[in-house]
Amino acid sequence: MKNNNSIEITPDLVRQHGLTLEEFSRIEDLLGREPNFTELGIFSVMWSEHCSYKSSRYYLRKLPTTGPRVLQGPGENAGVVDIGDGVAVVFKIESHNHPSFIEPRQGAATGVGGILRDIFTMGARPIALMNSLRFGAPDHLRTRFLVNGVVEGISNYGNCTGVPTVGGEIYFDPCYNGNILVNVFCLGLIPSDKIFLGNASGVGNPVIYFGSKTGRDGIHGASMASSEFDESSEEKRPTVQVGDPFAEKLLIEACLELMKEDWVVGIQDMGAAGLTCSTFEMAGRAGTGIDLELSKVPTREAGMTPYETLLSESQERMLVVIRKGMEEEALALFDKWDLDAAIVGEVTDTPMVRIFEQGTLVVNLPVELVVDGALDLKRPTKKPKYLAKVDHVSLDSISELESPGEVLKKLLSSPNIAKKHWVYEQFDHMVRLNTLGLPGSDAAVLRVKGSKKALALSVDCNSRYCYLNPFYGAQIAVAECVRNITCSGGEAIGLTNCLNFGNPENPEIMWQFEQAVSGMGEACKFFDIPVVSGNVSLYNETLGEAIYPTPTVAVVGLLEDRSFHTTQWFKEDESLIGLIGITLEEFGASEYLRVVHDRVEGQPPHLDLRLAQSVNKLCLELIQKNVLASAHDCSEGGLAVAIAESCMSHPLKAKGATINIDSTIRNDALLFSESQSRILISFLAKDRLAIEEMAETMKVPFAVMGKVGGDSLVVNINGKEFVREDISCLKQLWSGALEAYVG
């Protein structure tokens, strides 16, 4: 191994490492000397946006992170929320946007690998994956390649590791032409008193490396994800890691077996910034130091420099600190699972990380400076200029509909609304025998083995709303996710977020970020849902063109009794159909406005948090009283699309419906407005009175509006037939649209 610390540090070299000269002089001041080449590499990754959260940290403090169920909030590998009876859920969502654009298959696959490790590192058995995917225009030249690559990458990795991918969302919009988003969520189950943290405590304890060997892949991945794309981004392909799901599967099983032992002190995976990040962070959390000998690290090739070994982002690697004296037992366990393992260092009492190469000291850095030394920036914000042009829309400028049936067909064929089975049938969504609610309803529902409980999971964000008003857009993302959980019979108990934005050095982007985080924080406080983990992905921008602000949220809900599980589709002919909530003339930011009128304008629909909460409360009480046959959230495409989806999504047989509404608002608004806080339900006629009474008592708007049955979807407004479409024809359009674009 060649040591290259003799390389002279020049301003050019500093800039190539993504550090500003100001940051470099901060390093020199705090360190009291000039860092050597390897140390510069360490600062480069650890102070990158990706690892240090330097632009976002200040604002993230606005999010509520505590609550009676919270066992672990942000700052660890993932958040932990108690679900009672000695069991807790561990979950987090994370982005793998930049690598997935450069190399979609491996980028998405290693995104899955990374989030899985975050979960089982805490000692949890991963039981569910979800994803939130955003691509450019469906007809953009690169979209088909990217969609197929990403879906295949997730499919291959998730399926092989035996963790079901139970839900997700996929959106298409030209704003993602140059930067796609791949956000991956994972949830695991853990005994609530056996949570493992990434602590390197206990002076003299050995530090063991295990998992795959270290190679030269992924060097500077974290830094790559901390800058914009330009014409040369294709050349960054070598910074994308290559995943080995088989190795990950072995790691999962080996780790879970290892963590049954009482001599495991602390454990962390090697994700972004690899061995460097795990070493510094584990020492940082414990207030200790670590001495590391690099020649002991299992490597894939000879001649790797300390710089390369430390910055490699080779996948499927872990670092564990165990109690001294148990080395043989640990190594035997890794040998059982055919994993490489080596004792690479030990915990020290000085808060320094000292890294040796064949006994020669090559890095000697104070832990705190590296982990917490990055500037806590309060970047300037400025309301974006574009908003003045687009944040309003006049109703008069939207021509009334001539053929609402055609509009409905157009909306159902929009890839954002179309059935997503082309995607989720490529994911094993059933393995582990927990998936009670398969993909294709509002939320995924998983039983918790050994109890009556179940979990409901949903991931959501409408970025068009956020583009037009990031504050309310982010609130709506939270509210809709909670509503999805409600419709499936659960109560929201925790949230994780993935904040995808453009270049934070642009004050207009920072304004979007600040607004979105504030809105999300307020909504979470109102609903009393703690944010227990999350991830920030900035620089989603190419040649100055940023994506729409996309603060994706994933909400975890709890069903105390899995029999509360409710699905979105109509079940029986002659059941009645009703709407909880009210419909207003709100076209702003709607799918209708974009698909039919080709306009992205206006304010997102008004969100009244109080109403949202009472609508949810009513729906949940009805579910728990066992009077609902179905419940479905009204979202993109409005009431008409929600009714059509409830008709079509039954796994065996589509149902028709006849709707009769008396209304004083515009017909197109009635059908396609995306007014918030509405839930479409169906129930037996005998329960009508009880439901109406309960709505009345709880002062929640509710109206019965039709009946299930027949072969068509018929909508009569004020006594006049407005829509009559054959259900099987609608279903065919809805089912085939996505594949037609990307298959």
Binding site: P245, L250, V431, L436
Partner: protein, 235 residues
Amino acid sequence: MKCGVVVFPGSNCDHDCFHILKHVFKLDTEWIWHKGDVDLSQFDLIVLPGGYSYGDYLRAGAIAQFSSIMKEVVRFANSGRMVLGICNGFQVLLEAGLLPGALIQNHTQKFICKTVTVRVENIFTPFSSEYIKKTVLAIPIAHHQGSYFIGPDGLSKLIDNQLVVFRYCGPEGEVTDLYNPNGSVDNIAGIVSENKNVMGLMPHPERCADPAWSNLDGQLIFKSAIKSLESGALL
């Protein structure tokens, strides 16, 4: 009566099979690790579960056939004892030569996970005796290499000896190309060995055998095996 679930590195339906045998059917069930030489004579039924044995970076099941446990499983099967291979387990049985034919990539070139319908073709096997002939089952599949292939001679032999146990079909039992999810020869979803003591199938009966779900169409495969063993009818 004792069941064993083999665990290869990369098996991922091992927990599911174990759960159904142990917790649903309350059978004495043990894990069998792929390394080392386990004495299989104590077992009555060996299950090779789904997953990606040894990563399956080559052909599915191609590496697993060389594992030390498979030498024992082959010996066990050749002595007439019962072996059930599901999904990857089926692939391993083919690679190990316990069943004829091969499983190749789905004709869609994609992984497919969904519930399909299959028809019970032969009820005179210890794995299907509890079904009524021609019953249509709703049963999930989840595989990338599930397209069953066999040459014309082999196929005639399978058919002549009534070794095809399940065929992919439509909701009314129609065996046509339209209802062939992966391009399998003659819609074949599952077969038995000539002695009928070894069965392999691509669909996952363990995914429709737990009463937490309304679909229990897979249960009778396990019930048939239990009954056959209890009555000693097989031997």
